[in-house]
């Protein structure tokens, strides 16, 4: 298997403006040195604290954002700073499903216009053909074809999310960056959409980056899982290894916080102590160790925290506080 998409030491630092002249006073290190690859036909799950840079990483991968450092390779070419014009043919088979449908669906366009947009941008089919295709796509994601004439506000949150999915799969892409694709859906529709995504994958060899908070869902669809914290990858491994043999303290905290759908097993909410770190002034050394106020955190300052392989394909950030390495 060769990588379809890879990022190397990727950085996305946003300027933070302040003062009277709105000069850059600091930077928000949303993504701070991430390297990973996604193979053809593979699903890589991406999990992490909210605000740790998952959406930003996804947007850099489809080049909705131009990274401030590192590189992105897609299908054999370096797209890190590629111009819009050259990028367009690539974007055809590299799509994204957005986290907040309210942000990505134009409220003044009908669903038909929204879903057929990719066909128009890439000059595919005539009006009739597009119309037929839109109806087919809407039914594929579990909406009725008549939805095409309505506007986004006439739909519930979960229905809007499915419109975004229909648009993303319109052009039979090779790779989809899925930013929380199913979190707005009830469990039964969620299972339908996940089944659809898995079917598309086995039929067409699609690859996914699958960003989600529901760890049971991530485990089910992913081949490998990456755990992100404050702009960096903490651990990456096969899905089974992550859940059965987590090595990083943050991964362990996540797994132990999964809510159990059984009211007889109610426990006191488990939650992390400590101040949530900020990407504006990230702590030195191991960020999670700092958050936990770990007695050995100090030792991690100045250490080389590059990921280390601890088992076949199982990489983890070595630090005295969180991984005991």
């Amino acid at each position: 298997m060769k990588p379809l998409l890879s990022v190397e030491n990727l950085k996305m630092h946003f300027p933070v403006k302040g003062g009277v002249f709105l000069r850059s006073v600091a930077s928000c290190k949303a993504v701070d040195g991430v390297s990973l690859m996604i193979h053809e036909g593979e699903t890589l799950g991406l999990v992490g604290e909210s605000g740790c840079g998952k959406s930003t990483l996804g947007k850099c991968m489809v080049r909705l954002l131009e990274p401030t450092g590192g590189r992105v390779d897609y299908d054999g070419s370096d797209i890190t700073h590629m111009k819009r014009h050259d990028l367009l043919p690539k974007r055809r088979d590299l799509q994204m499903i957005f986290q907040d449908p309210a942000e990505s669906l134009n409220p003044r366009h009908t669903i038909g216009e929204i879903v057929s947009e990719p066909f128009i941008i890439h000059g595919i089919g005539d009006r009739q053909e597009r119309l037929a295709k839109v109806g087919e796509l809407l039914e594929k994601v579990g909406l009725s074809a008549s939805a095409a004439e309505k506007f986004p506000f006439e739909f519930s949150g979960g229905q809007r999310q499915r419109i975004g999915i229909a648009r993303a799969i319109a052009l039979n892409p090779k790779m989809i960056i899925c930013d929380e694709p199913v979190s707005a859906l009830d469990v039964s529709v969620q299972s339908q959409v996940l089944n659809l995504m898995m079917d598309l994958q086995s039929d067409l060899g699609l690859s996914y980056l699958f960003i989600a908070h529901d760890l049971a869902v991530v485990r089910h669809v992913s081949d490998r899982v990456a755990i992100m914290y404050l702009g960096k990858i903490m651990e990456i491994a096969d899905a089974d290894a992550i859940y059965e043999n987590p090595r990083h303290a943050y991964t362990k905290a996540l797994i132990s916080a999964i809510p159990i759908p059984d009211p007889t097993k109610r426990e006191d909410p488990r939650f992390l102590e400590g101040d949530v770190p900020s990407p504006i002034n990230p702590p030195e050394g191991c960020a999670f160790g700092h958050r936990m106020d770990h007695p050995k955190w100090k030792e991690s300052v100045g250490m080389d925290l590059a990921l280390r392989e601890v088992g076949p394909g199982h990489w983890v950030q070595p630090c005295p506080c969180c991984t005991n390495l």
Binding site: T56, S183, A257
Partner: protein
């Protein structure tokens, strides 16, 4: 303006529901006619209690919440009938003045999509402060302090910097926490939380749920929690309402609902819960088919188009009776979807 009298001392009437919704019907006027999104819904919630609402996407959960808040999109959305009794007031007939007082101060709401609720061209600080200025009559500087304080409580890092940023500069989960801060700021008597934690990782989710339950313990806040996460329902709710196609098909105390679901839809829903012990990459169990659009909804048992058992004409056209089968456990008694053994 005459302020409506406050609720009688809760210690004297401990079992009086804080909110009681009876036979609520809400509809939208659209180009293709009137659709009824909420069709005769009853529930109530007491102080200190958490009521969960679950159901298929599009079944009317958010519209129910927006009806209580009187925030339906006008002029299309309207309450067609029923009653919403909050403390000693009838909200269905409340004037806009009264609702301005009630919203944010007595009832706080966390909206499902943060971007629809936050003003994209206003700084975070201004939007959060407004709640305090409007309801707690604070001056600007005090309100700013209070805003930083509540933003910190909901786990926003560097709140003193974030307060001067615009919504698009925040991550999805941070926007959601800003909204949670606005809803909790005035310590409301009732919190309506529509998917409050979907954009948050499980550790932050646990932290927010803890914050809500702390406020509940501290001042007896009642909570209506709308969520798809049945794990969260199991861990936090006292009572659960299951909706399908604008109606309640089942309502029960949480332990009873998980142990003894009665309606075919509830059973299907519980079967579809994502689990950690399933074989990876296999087909997940679902409920076959899709919800019909509102204009094609059968007038009788709404689940009839999805259920495994074929329905007869009568059950498709006549609305099934809704009744109590054991203390606190209510079911829509369609003869095909409810088959007690």
């Amino acid at each position: 303006m005459i302020r409506p009298c406050r609720f009688p001392d809760p210690t004297l009437f401990p079992y009086m529901p804080l909110l009681e919704v009876t036979d609520l019907r809400t509809g939208f006027d659209t180009d293709y006619g009137r659709v009824v999104a909420v069709d005769g819904v009853d529930f109530s919630v007491e102080r200190n209690k958490t009521l969960g609402i679950v159901g298929e996407s599009g079944c009317g959960k958010s519209v129910t919440a927006l009806s209580v808040m009187q925030l339906l999109p006008r002029p299309a959305g309207n309450i067609l009938g029923g009653s919403i009794q909050f403390k000693d007031r009838e909200l269905v007939e409340a004037t806009p003045d009264v609702m301005v007082d009630v919203r944010g101060d007595e009832i706080g709401m966390i909206f499902q999509e943060p971007m629809t609720a936050l003003n994209p061209v206003q700084k975070i600080g201004r939007q959060v402060s407004e709640v305090f200025i409007l309801h707690k009559k604070m001056d600007k500087a005090t309100a700013r302090e209070a805003s930083i304080d509540i933003l910190e409580k909901v786990g926003i890092p560097s709140p003193e910097i974030r307060i001067d940023e615009y919504p698009h500069q925040l991550s999805g989960g941070m926007r959601q926490r800003v909204m949670i801060a606005m809803a909790l700021g005035c310590k409301p008597d009732l919190l309506i939380a529509d998917e409050p934690t979907t954009a948050l990782d499980v550790t932050v989710q646990a932290q927010i749920l803890k914050l809500i339950s702390d406020l509940q313990a501290e001042m007896g806040m009642a909570v209506i929690l709308i969520t798809h996460d049945l794990g969260v329902i199991a861990e936090t709710c006292d009572e659960v309402v299951v909706m399908y196609g604008g109606r309640i098909v089942e309502r029960a105390p949480v332990l009873e609902l998980f142990a003894n679901p009665q309606h075919a839809y509830t059973k299907g829903l519980l079967r579809s819960i994502p689990r950690l012990d399933r074989k990876r990459k296999t087909k997940l169990p679902t409920i076959e088919g899709n919800v019909p659009s509102l204009d094609k909804m059968p007038s009788g048992c709404r689940f009839s188009t999805r259920a495994d058992i074929e329905h007869d004409e009568a059950s498709i056209t006549n609305r099934p009776a809704y009744g109590e089968i054991s203390p606190g456990h209510w079911v829509e008694k369609c003869p095909y979807c409810y088959q007690p053994d």
